[in-house]
């Protein structure tokens, strides 16, 4: 009987119901989009790391998983190359350009040799040291093509020599030696990518290199990719928690206002139920059931909206990769339900404690 009453109540005020469900849905979308973008960006980053075709990655000791801000001496590269079982190496230098952008300095020949070579969509390789290469996602998001100039890259407008297929380490490349010179980091690398002769010995070689070069962080590519998860990025984890907290608060506010209005609107009906002998817990259970149903409808809407945000990201911000995260649907739904229930407690108690005589006299 309570579900029927709740369903009829929701149907009776379709606009209030729709607005509340949409507001809860937006909260769910906010959480799912954030998680989807975080995972998408990390997955994309791992995919591009793997796109180098390397088996082992060597970085400066103490580097963060996603951190490319720490360099080490390039003089170590010959020693890495000579380590038993290593077939090839290529060193890179990464320079941040602010926000999410960065440029990667590569040794074109060794990088191509290891990665299997760039696939050019437009243009071709560098013809002079001041040119850059960009990937197709960068080109699409910035609306540029081969031959165009990208403004103010390390103090100059730089010509795009070629647009390459995405998936190889970075979205923007220039020649390593020139980048080292422009940034004053000659003889510095951010990472060295290593190809081993026998991939089945990757873990063994990575461990051996870690022992021999204790001042560097050395990962097999599989290990590095597996470390690129939200749980291993403390700042991202904290950020997600903050957004979840915000989501709970929004759910609380939406449902608080919605239910508070509903209780005022239904004062007389609450009085009728009390006159029929409904206990405070019966009244409370009606409102809490309504809240749970509303937040479940909102959660379903939120999941649907997430496909919308994914499409928006894909079309308007292609460098921000958002993936679908079905494992988070129940979590985001649970967050919505909890926030909503907290929001329904005060209006619910107010309704439960309402004086029946006053409520029946309410017009």
């Amino acid at each position: 009987m309570i579900p029927r009453l709740v369903f009829e109540n929701l149907k009776h005020r379709p606009i209030r119901t729709a607005l509340s469900a949409v507001a809860i849905g937006l909260q769910v979308t906010m959480v799912l989009t954030l998680v989807g973008v975080s995972r998408g960006m990390l997955d994309e980053s791992a995919r591009r790391q793997k796109g180098t075709n390397a088996d082992i990655v060597i970085r400066a000791g103490g580097s963060a998983i996603l951190g490319f801000g720490v360099e080490f001496t390039a003089k170590l590269e010959p020693a890495f190359r000579q380590y038993p079982g290593v077939a090839d190496t290529t060193g890179i230098l990464v320079q941040s350009l602010g926000m999410l952008d960065g440029i990667t300095g590569i040794d074109y020949d060794s990088f191509n040799r290891m990665s299997g070579g760039f696939k050019f969509i437009e243009g071709g390789p560098f013809t002079n040291p001041d040119e850059i290469l960009v990937d197709d996602i960068y080109a699409r998001s910035k609306g540029v093509k081969a031959g165009d100039y990208v403004k103010n890259i390390l103090g100059a407008d730089r010509k795009i020599a070629g647009v390459v297929e995405s998936g190889k380490l970075s979205r923007m490349f220039m020649q390593r030696a020139r980048l080292q010179e422009l940034t004053g980091k000659s003889e510095k690398y951010t990472a060295v990518y290593v190809k081993v002769a026998d991939p089945s010995k990757t873990e063994e070689i990575a461990k051996g290199m870690s022992d021999k070069f204790p001042n560097n962080s050395i990962f097999s590519m599989e290990e590095l990719a597996s470390l690129m998860s939200v749980n291993n990025i403390p700042m991202l984890r904290t950020f997600i928690r903050v957004v979840i907290g915000l989501g709970v608060f929004i759910g609380f506010l939406v449902v608080f206002l919605s239910m508070y209005t509903a209780v005022l609107e239904r004062t007389r009906e609450i009085g009728i139920l009390k006159a029929l002998g409904a206990s405070p817990s019966y009244i409370l259970s009606i409102l809490l059931t309504e809240t749970v149903l509303l937040s479940l409808i909102g959660s379903v809407l939120g999941v649907i909206f997430t496909f919308g945000t994914r499409w928006i990201m894909h079309v308007f911000v292609p460098e921000m990769v958002q993936i679908t995260t079905p494992d988070w649907w129940p979590i985001a739904g649970g967050i919505a339900v909890v926030g909503s229930l907290v929001g329904a407690v005060y209006p619910g108690l107010k309704a439960a404690k309402q004086d029946a005589i006053e409520a029946l006299a309410y017009d």
Binding site: M1, H12, G271, I272, A275, L276, I357
Partner: protein
């Protein structure tokens, strides 16, 4: 059935005490149809609210079927409304979102009897009330008289000891008033329902077996 002795009710309005009942004595026999008349402010509704367990008395004794409602806790008064008392209000007070059938069923649900089939006498009562063909309708699809008949059906579905009707014809035209009053009398005669009815209307009061007059918080005749 109902035995009321020296019943007093004092409301607080700010710092002022309002004496709504000033010592009411009244006996109602089982199966009686009692009309209570009196001007506004005479204490009729307060008496109903106390009998219905909606508000506790300040002093005195009220025995309903041997239970002293003066001694009841809030939860016990809630149980009293569930099981022993049925209300019919002037404004019908149906739940607007529910059908006629669900308005009746919710009273059974609250009383905890919804799992059991309705008793056979209730089918006769529905026939008497002329509601058999209107069970799927919402209150807004019914006339005032029909809504009041639904309210009566809801009030009696749990077979309460007493039916309290507060101005049940106050919002109805003459034709519907006669119909509703006739139905209350039929229910009283056919199923032995004890009824207490508040009314301003002398013609309506005449449907009862007995008329009690109230003035200034007391029974005067």
């Amino acid at each position: 059935m109902i035995e009321i002795r020296n019943l007093r009710k004092i409301y607080k309005q700010g710092d002022v005490d309002v004496f709504a009942l000033r010592g009411v004595d009244l006996d109602v026999a089982e199966g009686e149809f009692l009309s209570i008349v009196g001007p506004s402010g005479s204490g009729k509704s307060t008496l109903f609210n106390i009998l219905g367990g909606l508000t506790p008395p300040t002093d005195g004794t009220v025995q309903i079927g041997g239970r002293d409602i003066m001694q009841l806790t809030d939860a016990q008064r809630t149980d009293l409304r569930k099981q022993a008392v049925g209300f019919v209000f002037q404004k019908y007070n149906l739940l607007p979102t529910l059908t006629v059938n669900d308005n009746i069923e919710i009273a059974r649900h609250i009383a905890g009897t919804h799992d059991k089939p309705r008793e056979s006498w209730f089918a006769d009562a529905l026939k008497l009330l002329g509601l058999e063909s209107k069970l799927g309708r919402k209150p807004r699809q019914l006339s005032g008289g029909e809504q009041q008949r639904v309210a009566i059906a809801r009030a009696i579905v749990n077979r309460p000891s007493i039916l309290l009707a507060d101005e049940p014809t106050g919002n109805l035209d003459t034709e519907n008033s006669d119909l509703v009053l006739g139905l209350l009398r039929d229910l009283n005669e056919k199923i032995g329902q004890t009824i207490l009815m508040i009314t301003h209307n002398p013609e309506a009061a005449a449907y009862g077996h007995r008329i009690v007059r109230m003035r200034d918080g007391r029974v005067v005749a």
